[in-house]
Symmetry: C2
Subunit: 479 residues, 2 copies
């Protein structure tokens, strides 16, 4: 893979002087076209061997392009903030929005390679990390990010010369680093996002090769016509030959007396409070996902949790339509940025499942997009789970009759009127479509690491206690 980089490439001064201003102008033009297009972000990963000019290349980009629209981010050792989030968190937060160019220096490739070089990961462990990276990169591509991966390379001899000149210390033995790097490049070069090796021994050659490739890649993408949705799958994964499904199988009316509710509420809230104060709780975090029919009591259930907790320990996050900033990012971005640090709770009142619920039913997302969302969500939740985040997911189910009763009651009580909108009435008409979407969602995303709990919610008291109890049990299982 590094054959060309080991040759003695050269570009003369005068040839460089002829081409450089043209290339620079063309890159600037391309950058403005990316901005005007607004449909995709460009993300440039800069990697490679020490002394091959990675830093110089990043500086060059900032010099050649309009720095107002280039976001350069160099990742070093993770900060305290970053260590308390899943490993990918810091990369997610730094993603460039559509219409801009992002440069990552030392991104998600860095740690797996260095761990392998230092012998801290096995061959299988390395493969595991590579698989996760591949899925992340595929998701980015699907979300419209133009991912360009560059590996800057020089020979061992050249590296030695460079480091001596700069007075730099060697970070990893050349042979080992290159051999791990080669395996990494080979296994993360995908159809959509192959690596490109840039020979780094001659600065002028390096800059022109890098700049030209970047320009050609951006131009190619700008010229691409929007592809028709490529994987139109049957809208319903499995057409059920009978009328039974997980929602209809629920016995929505559950009894619970007011007295019993009081007792249970006290008991489970005390238990939750105690759990949250356990010292070991500082090594995990809780993410609660609340979905359900309109007026099913999501907010009320969340409040029964939060009232048991220290206000400094939790966030309640209400998810509405995405903001402009959020729409310029991959779908999951706005959820990544709200992840709790260790020792904390985050309750999502509606969540990333909007993609496969409202966006599916209302046609806001193409079927290919919400179909792949199941996989992306499972990957996302696996990343959370691996980091020690306890995931609890609730679908609060009420009957159409009960919903009607609650809607009417809300209309009568003036301070509850804001809770009922024309949209709620419209949604009722799509009851069956939502039911189908919920069944598919449960079928495809209820997993051992992040199971769905279906809550029979015609009786609010019963529902709240079931939520409280399962949250406590999930935390206890982890502690």
């Amino acid at each position: 893979m590094f054959e060309s980089a080991n040759l003695d490439h050269r570009v003369g001064k005068s040839a460089y002087r002829r081409e450089e201003p043209k290339l620079r102008e063309a890159l600037l033009d391309a950058q403005y076209d990316v901005q005007r297009n607004g449909g995709f972000a460009v993300l440039i990963l800069v990697a490679g061997v020490q002394g091959a000019g990675r830093g110089a290349a990043v500086n060059l980009l900032n010099e050649w392009m309009d720095p107002r629209h280039v976001r350069t981010r160099a990742f070093g050792a993770p900060t305290q903030d970053e260590r308390e989030r899943p490993a990918l968190w810091r990369y997610w937060l730094a993603l460039p929005p559509r219409g801009t160019v992002g440069v990552f220096f030392g991104a998600w490739h860095e740690a797996p390679i260095m761990r392998r070089v230092r012998g801290e990961s096995s061959d299988d462990g390395f493969a595991h990390e590579i698989a996760q990276i591949s899925r992340l990169e595929q998701m980015l591509g699907d979300e419209g990010v133009l991912l360009l991966k560059y590996w800057f390379h020089v020979s061992k001899k050249e590296q030695k010369k460079r480091l001596k000149k700069e007075g730099e210390k060697l970070e990893a033995p050349y042979g080992k680093f290159v051999s791990v790097g080669e395996a990494f490049l080979r296994r993360t070069s995908t159809r959509e996002a192959p690596w490109t090796v840039i020979p780094g021994s001659d600065a002028r050659y390096r800059d022109l090769a890098f700049g030209r490739h970047l320009l050609a890649s951006i131009r190619e993408r700008l010229a691409r016509k929007p592809a028709p949705a490529r994987i139109p799958r049957p809208a319903r994964a499995l057409q059920p030959p009978d009328a039974l499904n997980v929602i209809r199988a629920l016995e929505l009316d559950q009894a619970m007396s007011r007295a019993e509710y009081r007792d249970e509420l006290d008991k489970w809230q005390a238990r939750l409070a105690a759990l949250s104060r356990r010292r070991k709780f500082g090594k995990l975090a809780v993410v609660g996902v609340f979905e359900g029919n309109d007026a099913a009591g999501k907010g009320g259930a969340i409040r029964r949790l939060t009232s048991a907790l220290d206000a400094r320990r939790y966030d309640t996050i209400s998810i509405a339509a995405p903001s402009e900033e959020e729409r310029a990012q991959p779908y999951l971005w706005r959820f990544w940025r709200r992840l709790p640090r260790l020792g904390r709770f985050a309750f999502f009142d509606r969540s990333w499942y909007g993609r496969v619920l409202v966006e599916r039913v209302e046609g806001f997302a193409a079927s290919a997009d919400w179909m792949r969302a199941y996989t992306e969500i499972n990957d996302f939740e696996q990343a959370l789970s691996r980091h020690g985040i306890v995931l609890v997911k609730y679908w609060l189910a009420i009957s159409p009759q009960e919903q009607l009763r609650r809607f009417r009651a809300r209309e009568k009580v003036s301070f509850k009127r804001f809770k009922i909108t024309p949209e709620d009435w419209r949604n009722r008409k799509k009851w069956r479509a939502y039911e189908e979407a919920v069944c598919d969602m449960v079928e495809r995303t209820s997993t051992s690491i992040a199971p769905w709990t279906l809550v029979e919610a015609n009786n609010k008291h019963y529902a709240r206690i079931k939520v409280l109890r399962t949250v406590c049990k999930a935390i206890e299982a982890q502690l």
Copy 2:
């Protein structure tokens, strides 16, 4: 993931009798349309828990569809033949050709799941196997295979009842198997090929659900318009700012006297013969890939290897245009089927690299197809290498002048005339395009597990000795 399968689904006899004949006819029609279309194969993977009706479903397919165009293959413990090939070999050989339907019962998912259930693989090892499967399945999708993956499922209680009734022995503890299965399904459900869980407790429900989904999926694919090539990448990975490349860097004229050649030939042929008789050689195999300019001496180099070997120990495989049978399969199929068993040699006179050489230059393959071929080839060679196959790959390079001399000489010698065709003269005109393709090929597929050896071949003697010597060294490194 198995929520719906754990419900008590039922379809009544009369409802089944009404629908079954229609579904059956529609499936048969769909099958004929697949055959008429001829553009893709359907591959149905049947998996799931024991006692959920996997076997019955496979039988049903053979009953419902035209068995002349359904190829059903049940994979059990590997045979001796299969054990001597890489693990994926038997699946490759059994792939259905375009226009037909293949059913795999216990395919590549089986062994990884069972190993994990039995605790024979670590979490990372399991992830490693999953990553390989994902890449295989993606490749199949890219090659136009419609991959449909079904997991038949019943509850623990139902399984127990079934096994008792059939007098079958439980192969794996239910809980463990289902938990590993769930993780597997979650992590191998991709955008292109998600798993579909079929509830198996009621035979009529199972058959209708399965049949309907199959029908809808095949119909959806038949209706799909051929998508435009989706990933048009710049044709040359990196435009080199100077004229230097790995081919031009070669010193093609190397000296070797006839006497020296004789000595070296004797020495290395004896060494190769001895190596091939080593007992430990039985644990590995050698695959030699010979590519090069026309008339560069590929055949002659191969003969200098084979004349040192027992004729029962090697195959020489000349690759020309693919046959009709081969064209109906994914690109790499015809190479998989020619893989040597352990203890043997296979020399490919031209090879899978045709995809990124002649097919690229002549425009037989779309750029998106040959671009992804680099990744597919690296995966293929990694599978070979993991199985203990020593890969040696040669590019025999001669100068245009030397080629011209050889062409003219061949035209003069009557028994060599067959070796020179109008195509050879045409290819000469594309010298630069081939050179570019060769450089990209070396850059993207020369890896530590399967490095390219560039052979300066203006002097045939020198070239043959270099090939012999590097083959011996590669085997010795492995032994």
